[in-house]
């Protein structure tokens, strides 16, 4: 009998532990608070706030989700956080003012945009050393690595270009002019198309990766909002590639774009100055960082409706989600 009770207790404890671990966790960088907010995606509440370096902006996980890389822009480093303990365990020599970055598919190389220096820095994550520095246009910002790992792109905000970098030689192979103030770049999962948002141009350009030429453009229009307030920034594509979500900055809306027709299906009202976006790993929920209102809106992807807005720190900037199955 006692054995049975003990077993029940053990099973219950295990279930509880698993229950706690089952939640996806969203990590949000708070630019003006020097912290990371951790959101439990089951409870939709902030469960932890972790102090980090100065002006944290871009954040992303290592491929095994054990480490979180943080662009601490004003500390001029990329910090490495041990996710389990929440402690900063090291830094990467990112160069000055790192803002956005991208990891190669094998997780070995980190490509960092150095906004103030007009360069992109390539860092070996194992040895924590700089492998290459590449001269690019003025104010490099958006960074992405193709799914096959062969190409990295960086957008330069003032030069208005997408710079294509060969990841074996670290040389610029091409530069493609896009609309004004390109902010964010993302490859489609099949690697054939690159989506680039232009904040001042007010558009999203689709580029054919093989020819590196623009092939289509998505425009936006929201009744009652001045056209020049519609400023696309963050983009995220659903895992099945059918939909793209585009954050429209001071227009305070996220556009939902059908990737086949390239038409906007609907606009979702979120918080103020919506900046970057992330999807939960199952593609079911969208998270938006709303800089001015200092919160994160959680959107149900199926119904395309906001479920909840969660207060985080001052000026939330980046967001990334750590899936359940990686939790230990």
């Amino acid at each position: 009998m006692r054995l049975l009770a003990g077993t029940i207790v053990a099973v219950l404890a295990y279930a509880l532990a698993m229950g706690a671990a089952r939640a996806d966790l969203a990590y949000v960088s708070n630019e003006k608070d020097n912290t990371i907010s951790v959101i439990d995606m089951n409870k939709l509440t902030v469960v932890d706030t972790i102090p980090v370096g100065l002006r944290p902006r871009g954040i992303l996980f290592s491929k095994d989700y054990r480490l979180l890389y943080i662009c601490a822009s004003d500390t001029d480093t990329v910090q490495i956080m041990d996710v389990k303990s929440g402690k900063i365990v090291g830094t990467l020599p990112s160069g000055d003012d790192p803002e956005q970055f991208a990891l190669s598919p094998d997780g070995k190389l980190l490509f960092v945009a150095n906004e103030d220096d007009n360069i992109a820095t390539v860092i070996d994550t194992a040895t924590r050393t700089v492998v290459a520095e590449i001269d690019v246009g003025v104010e490099p910002e958006g960074m992405a690595v193709s799914p096959d790992g062969k190409t990295a792109v960086v957008t330069s905000e003032t030069t208005n270009m997408v710079h294509w970098i060969d990841t074996t030689t670290y040389k610029l192979v091409d530069n493609t002019l896009v609309d004004q103030r390109p902010r964010y770049a993302v490859f489609t999962p099949n690697g054939k198309t690159l989506w680039v948002s232009s904040e001042i141009g007010g558009s999203v350009t689709l580029l054919d990766v093989a020819s590196r030429k623009p092939v289509a453009k998505v425009g936006f229009r929201i009744p009652g909002i001045a056209k020049d307030r519609i400023q696309p920034v963050g983009i995220v594509l659903t895992p099945d590639e059918t939909l793209a979500f585009v954050a429209l900055g001071p227009a305070n809306h996220v556009a939902v774009v059908d990737t086949k027709t390239l038409k906007v299906v609907t606009y979702i009202l979120v918080g103020r100055r919506v900046w970057l976006l992330a999807l939960t790993p199952d593609g079911g929920r969208l998270l938006t960082t709303n800089g001015i209102s200092g919160d994160v809106t959680v959107v149900d992807v199926k119904s395309k409706r906001p479920i909840k807005t969660i207060k985080v720190g001052r000026f939330p900037w980046g967001v990334t989600v750590r899936p359940t199955k990686q939790s230990k």
Binding site: N118, T159, N160, R181, E199, D228
Partner: protein, 407 residues
Amino acid sequence: MIFKLYLWAPCWPARSVGLHLLVLLGLLSSAAAGKAAGAQSGRLSVEIQYFEVKRPLRPTLSNLVRPPVDRGLQGARLGIHDNNSTGRFLGHHYRFATRIIPAEADWRSAAREVLAGPASFVVINAPAPVVRMMARDPAAKGKILINTGSGDDDLRRTLCAPGLFHTLPSRAMRADALLQFLVKRRWTRLFLVAGRRPGDAKFAASLKRAAAKFRARLVAGKTWIGDADLRRNAAREAPRFTQGPDYDALIVADEDRDFGQYLLYNTWLPRPVAGSVGLQPVAWSPVVEQWGAAQLQRRFRKIARRGMTSLDYAAWAAVRSIGEAITRLKTAEPGKVRAFLHSEKFALAGFKGRKLSFRSWNGQLRQPIPLVHETAVVAVAPIAGYLHRLTELDTLGFDRRETECGH
């Protein structure tokens, strides 16, 4: 005639500078032959001429009011630098020629020499008469002139020269920006104080026009005679001077900053002070930091070692506009550049939260106007709620029908 030629390429590797020097030397000879086009197909070399007539330094009460001597020039330099950073990926190169003359020099002959020179793109940082004379000169035909130094309203309202653009906001735009804010705050009873210098009367006229436009009331108006040393006794002079009917705000037209700063906190009634001092509508200020502006400020500080002023911003925007047009068109043919600048296709990312474009009727750069004090941005006009059927930016300054420009 003395033209200084600079090559701005500080971020290029040394050997590439050498290479471009060779290209430059080659182009100098072709420029002398009257050609300004590129040597090879796809490659372009563009000369941008900066022409400055220094403003006379008038005495002010304070001995410390000394604006930087290189206002405008440093902004143009940064613009050339930004243009070349983009241009090097396209084979476009921008050369910078400067001609700067003192206030008392013969600006007419200097202006004619500039217009007779090879550059198709001329950035002018000079008082209104210089801009007017250059825009009307037959030699300006086929060139693009950009006024970056004069806020004169008449240049926008009546001059109507097709090749003339303005990147500095007019006095009317700045006055409208201020009045939008005051009216939004319901500070609609205004006391206007103007100095006796020519610019003061002009800014006072713009403020009056804006007050009428946005339905504010001028309940009192006075001219500052300027015979007291306010540094010693502002506390005694200013309260008496600002007595009168009750008002919500004191607005000041004092473009040389001669006396206005002594009125703050010394008004008879405890009232805010705005205009040339206190809360100021400006094209730019070192305190602007939103919309990525912090990066522009840092880049500017790196080359100029001081904060960026409105004149610097206007010169930067002029050079960048030329660069942006040439980047998109892939040609430096002035006729095409002019048409493009006037068109809706043109958009400049100007770190002001919205894309900037030129008004087709008078060549004025549409732009938000920050309202600032010494340490912060208070608001940015157009203030929310002031509507326009095309763009809210056209609630500032002269709309098409308010000008005599038909095109």
